[in-house]
């Protein structure tokens, strides 16, 4: 990379960060203005009042516990849905017969409302942790399957043929030839999936768990405590943004490294 392009990419990164920060400040200002117009802390507290609740909840230890529980459910359901969805997606994408047979099942699965899956899982398997996580994974998996199926359909046949002639072991074909081609699909499914998963986890917690952010939001709702609801929401959104920035984005950069090296 020449000094010039380095300079440009550095200033580009800097200005994009400035823009992000400006956008966040803009959001806070809009919130502040709306709160002042509403003029009712019970209905819409100011950012400062919400931040005070966050600090108070952190001190009491409640917030960390409930956010931790929710995060744990999100991670388990997310990983489960990604693993199962990827496996089924690859099988469907690589086998026209199986794809045709299960395609309508997939359409049904995609269109069952999350709430229905959750209620049914609780009824069938009881108000247990396993039922909760399973219900979330069940909601997420069909989207993963759909995205990965399309990815698997567009695998480069010429490379698979090459591997076939050279008798490359199956596990190596999967790791070195198939998964790298599915990386964009995996990233797309992962990034859209994280947001979806935590939203559904909240519903699951609201309906049938004794802890977690969703449970807390229901408690706050019962007391009409808007500041509490906003505080928990903000903290959890922040956690997800941190995961996105520290985990998913660097991963995305890593799997596309070879593309950048060709530019």
């Amino acid at each position: 990379m020449t000094a010039l392009t380095l300079h440009i990419s550095r200033t580009g990164r800097l200005s994009s960060w400035l823009l992000r920060i400006a956008s966040l400040i803009g959001l806070l200002v809009a919130w502040q203005v709306a709160a002042q117009l509403a003029d009712d802390p019970g209905l819409l507290p100011t950012p400062a009042a919400t931040a005070a609740v966050v600090i108070e909840q952190i001190h009491s230890g409640d917030l960390l516990f409930h956010v931790g529980m929710t995060l744990l459910r999100v991670v388990i359901a997310f990983v489960g849905a990604m693993l199962i969805g990827t496996a089924i997606g690859i099988v469907m994408g690589r086998n026209a017969g199986i794809d045709m047979f299960f395609d309508s099942w997939l359409v049904v699965a995609l269109n069952v409302p999350a709430l229905v899956t959750i209620v049914l899982c609780y009824v069938w398997f009881g108000l247990t942790e396993a039922a909760a996580v399973f219900a979330v994974a069940l909601n997420k998996a069909p989207t993963v399957i759909t995205i990965l199926r399309e990815g698997a359909k567009s695998l480069d046949e010429s490379l698979l043929e090459m591997a076939e002639v050279y008798k490359v072991p199956r596990s190596r074909i999967l790791r070195r030839i198939v998964l790298p081609q599915l990386a964009p699909s995996l990233m797309a499914a992962g990034r859209s999936g994280l947001a979806l998963t935590w939203k559904i986890v909240l519903v699951v917690e609201l309906l049938g768990r004794p802890n977690g952010v969703g449970f807390e939001i229901r408690r706050f709702f019962n007391f009409f405590d808007i500041a509490g609801i906003l505080a928990y929401t903000l903290v959890f959104v922040a956690v997800i943004l941190v995961i996105e920035a520290l985990l998913l984005k660097p991963l995305d950069r890593r799997v596309t490294k070879w593309r950048q090296s060709q530019a």
Partner: protein, 238 residues
């Protein structure tokens, strides 16, 4: 090592024209076969059937036991774009064979490109990497679909030499598609011709005289002459 019996292949429905028909072919270890013929005569299809990538619609393909290790250099290099030059070799020979892979890269004059991605290599370098990959598994049967095109003449000569030396040392069966009569005259122990429109093999010449590797310019000229005489329709005019 391999035997094709009355092999036929057509693409499309019953009415489709046979691309290959009635091909009988016995391939022995240690043979260097050059496959010549104009485009559309089914050379690549025949190679794919021999490689086991395509099934004949008629006839059968028999392999000896144990089945031969087959390597194929395709018309296009078919390198894995997200693996480095070195990793492209390690993909087929296994992750621990680094020193062997480096030796092969040296053989095809790609030293120093170990960490480059295929997209950073020139077309000729990609073809040489594909050749190194084929040699890396020490094949019993080496299938080469125009492996030396788009190399500059000097490099083509040297890579032809690399191929020949490998063949002399390891004695695999080799089948090479080529349009170049000089190349077949220099390298082949047998030349097979395919013609479009007709069915099957139309030339199957066992080359007498000195074996490849010990042919003089004069011997090569006589092979070319016989080739041109036997096959005025083939695009092999030198």
């Amino acid at each position: 090592m391999m035997r094709l019996e009355a092999v036929g292949r057509r693409f499309g429905d019953e009415a489709a024209r046979w691309v290959l028909a009635g091909i009988d072919l016995v391939l022995q270890k240690g043979e260097f076969v050059c496959l010549v013929g104009p485009s559309g005569s089914g050379k690549t299809t025949l190679m794919r059937i021999i490689a086991g990538l395509d099934r004949p619609d008629r006839g059968q393909r028999q392999v000896s036991a144990p089945p031969p290790r087959i390597a194929m250099v395709f018309q296009e290099p078919r390198l894995v774009p997200w693996l480095t030059t070195l990793d492209n070799l390690l993909l087929v020979i296994g992750p621990h064979e680094t020193s062997k892979a480096r030796a092969l890269l040296h053989l095809v004059e790609l030293d120093g490109s170990e960490d480059s991605y295929p997209g950073q290599l020139s077309g000729g370098m990609q073809r040489r990497l594909a050749l190194a990959r084929a040699l890396s598994i020490e094949p019993d049967l080496l299938l080469l679909d125009e492996p030396l095109v788009s190399l500059d003449p000097a490099l083509e000569e040297r890579m032809g030499y690399v191929l020949q030396r490998y063949w002399l040392e390891h004695q695999p069966g080799v089948i090479m598609v080529t349009h170049d009569p000089r190349q077949s005259a220099r390298l082949a122990s047998r030349i097979i011709g395919l013609s479009p429109g007709k069915t099957g093999l139309t030339l199957n010449e066992q080359l007498a005289g000195p074996p490849p590797g010990r042919r003089s310019d004069h011997d090569e000229a006589s092979v070319i002459r016989r080739l041109v005489n036997a096959y005025p329709n083939l695009p092999i005019a030198s």
